[in-house]
């Protein structure tokens, strides 16, 4: 290829531009840290915006030069650059800010944390600023047992709820896959429809059912099974029911997808070879649906850990979940550094199941090919 050197040169220029963008991100964080930012906001914001636009334009033009070699031109560069810059500015940079604030100390000021970086007195302040950052909030999280209890209880609730969801979802997915072919589209629609309906409303609909004078208790009293109303709302049990109810479609869909592909002649073969129906299920169907089960479990487990709406509406004050703790730390206690530290640790915990999930997805993709 004759144009390889020029592509390499362009790659180099682009790499440089991306580095500059990263530096810009760092600058944003520093500006954020400095209190002077607040006072000079009238000029500060347009200035930041100007830097941002200049850098974005630089990146775009570098990319367009590279793309001309591949005959896609400026448009192609915009297509890469725009979502890229958007995600850098509104996903990566904010997260770096959380990381930074988690290392700061809480203060009675606006914004309510310190140290603030003040660059007006030269770079010597930068080193002072950096030396003021510490892991104090993290040590605080380990010393107060509220936090580690909340993490553990989130993990435990997520684990038990995932298992319950699997137990309920599997027979439903199995029944769907076994239903006559012409029903499949309708059944699928019935599973997907709740997914489009508001999550908040579905959690709320459970409140009227589970409360002490709710529909469930009225029904049980009417049947005479219980003498007085059961306390379900504002307990852990209500949280389990809430999670199973709202996340059920996420578990049914992947299991149904894996069961639907199953070749039924395999089951006939197993029965011809002397398996009972249950043995055929256990030795053939179940192992072949493992991919769907694993995917479904991760799809329920991962979002459940950081769940806020379900524990706060159904769990009452006695149910500890880390998403709720973070919310209260931020809104009620106004302790931003501790809230940020809680967020960072939550993310570190989540990385393990996320990486495992991606591995298993890759494996099943390779197996599918």
């Amino acid at each position: 290829m004759s144009d390889t050197p020029s592509i390499r040169a362009m790659n180099f220029a682009l790499g440089f531009m991306l580095l500059a963008l990263a530096a810009f991100a760092a600058r944003l964080a520093i500006l954020f840290a400095s209190d002077g930012w607040d006072a000079t906001s009238a000029t500060g914001f347009p200035l930041t915006l100007a830097i941002f636009i200049a850098l974005a334009a630089g990146t775009l033009s570098a990319m367009s030069k590279m793309d001309q070699d591949r005959r896609t031109g400026f448009l192609g560069a915009t297509v890469i650059g725009l979502p890229y810059v958007w995600l850098l500015a509104l996903f990566l940079v904010p997260f770096l800010i959380v990381l930074k604030i988690s290392l700061s100390d809480v203060a009675l000021a606006r914004p309510p944390y310190m140290p603030q970086l003040d660059l007006s007195e030269g770079w010597s302040n930068l080193t002072a600023f950096l030396s003021d950052l510490d892991f104090e909030n993290y040590t605080f999280l380990t010393s107060d047992d509220l936090y580690w209890k909340a993490y553990l209880s989130s993990l435990q609730i997520a684990f038990v709820a995932t298992a319950c969801t699997l137990l309920i979802a599997y027979p439903v997915a199995y029944g769907m896959a076994r239903a006559p072919q012409e029903w499949h589209a309708t059944l699928l629609m019935l599973v997907i429809l709740p997914f489009w309906t508001s999550f908040l409303i579905r959690v709320y609909s459970l409140m009227g059912i589970l409360s002490n004078d709710g529909v469930l208790n009225q029904f049980l009293l009417w049947t005479g099974l219980i003498g007085e109303p059961l306390q379900i709302l504002n307990t852990k049990l209500a949280v389990y029911i809430g999670i199973v109810y709202t996340y059920l479609p996420f578990m049914i869909l992947p299991i149904y997808a894996s069961l639907e592909k199953l070749d039924e002649s395999l089951l006939e073969a197993a029965e011809d070879l002397g398996c009972s129906r249950f043995q055929a299920f256990w030795l053939v169907t179940f192992p072949l649906s493992k991919g769907g089960i694993i995917a479904g479990c991760f799809l329920v487990f991962i979002p459940t850990i950081g769940e806020f709406v379900i524990p706060s509406l159904l769990g009452g004050s006695g149910t500890l979940m880390i998403g709720k703790v973070l919310w209260e730390e931020f809104f009620n206690n106004r302790d931003w550094p501790v809230a940020s530290a809680v967020a960072v640790i939550l993310l570190l915990i989540l990385i393990i199941p996320i990486v495992l999930f991606q591995r298993s997805e890759e494996k099943s993709r390779e197996a599918g090919q």
């Binding site: 297509v79 890469i80 996903f91 999550f199 009227g208």
Partner: protein, 272 residues
Amino acid sequence: MKRLSWFNVTALTLGFAFLYLPMIILIVYSFNESRLVTVWAGFSTKWYGTLLQDQEFLDAAWVTVQVAFLSSTIATVLGTMAAHVIINAGRFPGRTLFSGMIYAPLVMPEVITGLSLLLLFIGLNIDRGIMTVVLAHTTFAMCYVSVVVSSRLATFDTALEEAARDLGATPFQAFRLVTLPIILPAVISGWLLAFTLSLDDLVIASFTTGPGATTLPIKIFSAVRLGVSPQINALSTLMIVVVTIGVITASLVTKRNAVRRAEEERAGAASA
């Protein structure tokens, strides 16, 4: 013709009853005369009347629709671009970071996304309001859109676009006239997904909103924290009905289009 066993029938009945009964009960009780939501006191539509006269709810609904419309539209444009990049751009500097940033918001707990965006807005001293919620919703919705669109783009034959380029189309023309019509169903369902995600979001909106920009979920949440209210039942019923009609219409339209396309193809094959 295979028949369903009693086990499968029971599983399906119980499963779907569990999924739908709470919503059906909620809809039924929205027509309850009594303020006590647990006691049936006769049929009435009065809670719909009070709801439609409650200016706060109407304002919140209007804010929510504005936010959802703006954010889902921007997210669809950005997400389609991102899907195009992931599937077709080949290698470019920072590709791993890019695809990481596309997938990370999908698994990021909402409390973290909300907290980090709020801290960014405070740091930049941006006044919080409708625009900050739009920015926040666009950011996570574009990732969902790009996942939906890229699964469609992955099966798209790029030779078609190349042929258009060889015949003299500009890249934009090739995209608009060849690629876009083919991936359009995925783009539309991406937009719908982004729209409902935005309509639905409580946590991220609570962090990034400001005075005068209360969305419907925030309003609902603050109203139901203290318990069930008949007015919220009425509002929920309206939202469930709108979404159900929307989803069923969308699926019928897609189905009809698929049938028509199949017929056209058959006619084309017959005349050839």
